[in-house]
């Protein structure tokens, strides 16, 4: 069994000199990240135990709006993937490289979904607090941007991921702010 396992992670393709040895440092980093993420979720769930738990609750109109937002995000991803495929077919390479392009497409789809939800008042749930959401997003933005710049200074190649996620959360924050301003300008409610 041990021999089989060792063989499976040390296969070398002699014709192309391609090694299939996994990047163990990256795997370990992802593992630590998952553990920390689960820990943060547990903390959030505990702090929200009197407010309906970890998950936000939405009313029927918000769920319908989220469905439309999912559609917007889905088609954004499809169009971007098609665009990337066409560029690939024409041998027009993007300067971003494969991994970064995939990440950019994913984050763009998520961003379109989230901003659509915000504009349709379907992002903040019934048991959510807008101020607390804004604070959480601010912390995420600052920590991701900070980590990104720190990783770049340390010469790490993964700094781009942190910077992209930080920019995404910054755009979400901006969308929440713009929506709040628009609501205030329209007098809130009662016409």
């Amino acid at each position: 069994m041990k021999t089989m396992l060792l063989k499976s992670i040390e296969v070398i393709d002699q014709s192309d000199n391609v090694t299939l040895v996994p990047n163990l440092r990256m795997l370990a980093g992802i593992g630590v990240g998952i553990i920390i993420g689960v820990g943060i979720l547990a903390l959030v769930a505990y702090s929200r135990r009197n407010e309906g738990g970890l998950f936000s609750k939405y009313d029927e109109r918000q769920k319908v709006a989220q469905g439309l937002a999912y559609r917007n995000g889905f088609w954004t991803v499809v169009v971007l993937l098609c665009g990337w495929y066409i560029l690939d077919l024409c041998d027009l390479w993007l300067p971003t490289g494969r991994n970064l392009t995939i990440l950019l497409i994913m984050l763009t789809g998520v961003l379109v979904y989230v901003v659509s939800c915000i504009m349709m008042d379907a992002y903040i749930g019934l048991n959510d607090n807008r101020k607390r959401t804004a604070i959480s997003l601010s912390v995420l933005t600052v920590s991701n941007l900070g980590l990104g710049f720190a990783n770049r200074a340390a010469g790490s190649s993964t700094f781009v991921m942190n910077l992209l996620v930080g920019c995404m959360t910054l755009v979400v924050l901006a969308a929440i702010g713009i929506k709040a301003l628009l609501e205030r300008r329209n007098g809130g409610e009662e016409e």
Partner: protein, 68 residues
């Protein structure tokens, strides 16, 4: 189509949109959307709103037409 009957029923009870939303278990924006005619609520939500405002479904949500 705007639901002015619901708006006036809410005003008669001296309830804000937020207060009615909390009574009924939805967001304020949903109440606003219903009153502006931007969203058609389900029967369940209609009934909840009627109960909160002490009105019948006909009084708040029936669309009157010109047909005899």
């Amino acid at each position: 189509m705007k639901n002015l009957r619901m708006k006036s029923a809410r005003a008669a009870k001296d309830l804000s949109q937020q207060a009615l939303a909390e009574l009924v278990g939805v967001s304020r924006q949903t109440i606003n959307s219903i009153e502006k005619g931007d969203y058609n609520p389900t029967i369940r939500l209609c009934l909840a709103i009627c109960r909160a405002l002490d009105k019948t479904l006909d009084e708040l949500f029936w669309e009157e037409t010109d047909q005899p």
